[in-house]
């Protein structure tokens, strides 16, 4: 409640302080916000009206041309239109849409240009440059397989991530808290830390009885190191006064660790967790491309064997979306836990 109040005043302040705008300029800004939606329409028009390159058009078996691109553009355009409709009543939505307008315009123009260069003129050649519709079609056609791959990848990713993260938390907090633990753990960290976790893949391929288990181990190891380091420095940098105050309230060591050291180290721990996630994603891809016979990394490698470039690009897009979603979830968790830092700075 207090927060919304403050946002309002900040917003009104900006309006108060900015120079008054003429009627004409306001109208122009309104119209500009409609531009991305119009361009989305142009996207469909270009795709439908400009004839395809004869070589492609004459061979629909080898070069299928579908309506996936139209659906995609229509969905995008509809979303932009809805946003515009909201922006008629909400100033915030209007400002935000205006902010994003140039970005979306350029994006759509690039998509149109790409379609012209590939499908329509054949300047960028198949099979290396499949047009956007081909890629969308590939995602659509292989959707069940891709979903299966996503779930396998996520299971492997999170098995390793959770194990490694938990282990990192334990070693990091323990070593940050106790000199004796740090005496034994530090050499281990110094030894294992500099080895990129993907190095272990060759050994795992030979030694591990289960490739899945081996990959979990490799991912976990990769996550363990940054989380350990982050927890270690987080506990080390906690304010001494916080510990002292807690001690005067009668807290013993166990509660000092869980009620003071860990919360104080949380901001740092989340840095480690974010770093660990990027390491885990890399390790996941390596594991799937080299050993594990499932998941998105395996899929992309498999399609490479068939020189199915459209499917490979499709997989790249799906990987991008998956990892974006995972990182977004992590950001949400971070924001929730570190809520108190919301308005720092």
């Amino acid at each position: 409640m207090k927060r919304a109040e403050r946002a309002m005043t900040a917003w009104e302040l900006r309006r108060l302080e900015s120079a008054p705008k003429s009627k004409l300029r306001r109208a122009a800004r309104r119209a500009a916000a409609l531009l991305p939606a119009i361009l989305a329409g142009a996207m469909i028009a270009e795709y439908k009206l400009v004839p395809a390159f004869p070589k492609y058009a004459s061979n629909p078996i080898a070069y299928p041309i579908s309506n996936m691109y139209v659906y995609f553009a229509a969905a995008f355009g509809a979303a932009l239109l809805a946003w515009f409709a909201v922006s008629l009543v909400s100033r915030r939505a209007h400002e935000k849409l205006l902010l994003k307008t140039p970005l979306y315009c350029v994006l759509i123009i690039l998509l149109i240009a790409y379609d012209l260069m590939t499908l329509k003129t054949g300047k960028l050649k198949m099979p290396y440059f499949p047009w956007a519709d081909r890629i969308l079609l590939a995602i659509y056609e292989d959707r069940l397989m891709l979903l299966d791959c996503i779930s396998h990848s996520l299971v492997l990713l999170f098995s390793g991530y959770l194990i490694g993260g938990a282990a990192g938390l334990v070693t990091g907090v323990a070593a940050g808290w106790s000199r004796r633990v740090s005496y034994w753990v530090m050499p281990l960290i110094r030894l294992l830390g500099p080895i990129p976790s993907t190095t272990w893949i060759s050994i795992i391929l030979v030694v591990a009885s289960s490739l899945f288990g081996g990959s979990v181990f490799m991912i976990a190891l990769g996550v363990w190191y940054p989380v350990t380091m982050a927890a270690l420095s987080g506990v080390g940098n906690a304010q001494r006064g916080n510990f002292e105050a807690a001690r005067t309230f009668g807290l013993g060591s166990a509660r000092l660790v869980f009620k003071v050291a860990v919360p104080a180290a949380m901001p740092s721990i989340f840095n480690g967790l974010t770093q660990g996630m990027s390491v885990a994603c890399t390790a996941l891809m390596v594991a799937e491309m080299l050993g594990v016979e499932s998941g998105l990394g395996w899929y992309i490698n498999w399609q490479r064997g068939w020189a199915e470039f459209a499917r490979m690009y499709a997989a790249v897009i799906v990987i991008c979306l998956t990892f974006t979603a995972v990182n977004f979830a992590l950001t949400l968790a971070r924001r929730r836990v570190l809520r108190y830092q919301e308005d720092w700075k």
Partner: protein, 259 residues
């Protein structure tokens, strides 16, 4: 009846990496505070007042001598001895209410009594900021929050290290009255460090003037006035003059202030 706090020939030496050696912060401090007393410590900056409080709190171990509380030697911290720190030690990840709750839970006195915490927030004038985080408060508000956090635990001995230092004079006087009231109601022992001579006279039964380098007890003055005290009375003014004189005698303290 044994003294609430007793210091016998207490000395404290700190290792100082910057001096490549050691430094005596306290030397031969003898002090006896009877239960229920209100004692103030006055002295120049750096004369060891905080160190003295930290020894009583159990956060520092005396190098020489003995610190005794309620007949037992002080070993580590105890919720029966509360300390309001000089610098702010609020937990950044907890709201003001959360900070007070933390302290109450620490001593296992917490029975989810929301109204009790509300009372403390009211006393600190922070009712509106109950759900704010420490970084959203002003310096003075933080100090008030830290003060009530320590008060909420209701320790037998409360050590206050310049608890009202960051406050304007009006808020300060209000809180001085609140402190006096709480002290009378609870019969707890209060040992307060302050730089404000008037505050010391207004609140305490005894004033301990310390000298610096190494920190020693220079003089102990009784304040033979009944409560509530009148800041404008002749006795008050006379005692203020006496204390200022006592502190001014030392040349090196003058220097300290000049630095």
């Amino acid at each position: 009846m044994s003294a609430a706090v007793e210091l016998k020939n207490v000395g404290k030496i700190f290792a100082r990496a910057d001096l490549n050696g050691t430094m005596a912060a306290l030397e031969d401090v003898n002090l006896s505070v009877e239960p229920g007393a209100f004692v103030s410590l006055l002295g120049a900056s750096g004369c060891g007042k905080s160190t003295l409080l930290r020894i009583i709190a159990g956060l520092e171990t005396p190098t020489f001598g003995e610190a005794i509380c309620g007949g037992e030697p002080i070993r580590g911290t105890d919720p029966r001895r509360g300390l309001v720190f000089q610098e702010h030690t609020l937990f950044a990840w907890l709201t003001v209410r959360g900070n007070i709750k933390f302290a109450l839970k620490g001593t296992k006195k917490y029975k989810s009594e929301r109204s009790e915490i509300d009372g403390w927030l009211e006393l600190a004038g922070l009712a509106e900021f109950a759900d704010s985080y420490p970084h959203q408060l002003s310096g003075g508000m933080r100090q008030r929050a830290a003060l009530v956090r320590a008060l909420a635990v209701s320790p037998d001995v409360l050590l206050l290290d310049e608890p009202l230092g960051a406050l304007d004079s009006f808020t300060r006087m209000t809180l001085q009255d609140e402190l006096a009231r709480l002290w009378r109601e609870r019969h707890s022992t209060m040992i307060m460090v302050t730089h404000d001579v008037d505050e010391a006279i207004y609140l305490s039964q005894r004033i301990i003037v310390m000298s610096a380098r190494p920190g020693r007890v220079r003089e102990i003055l009784n304040v033979p006035m009944s409560y509530p005290r009148n800041r404008a009375s002749d006795d008050f003014t006379e005692l203020r003059g006496k204390i200022l004189k006592s502190m001014d005698f030392a040349g090196d303290i003058q220097q300290d202030y000049a630095i």
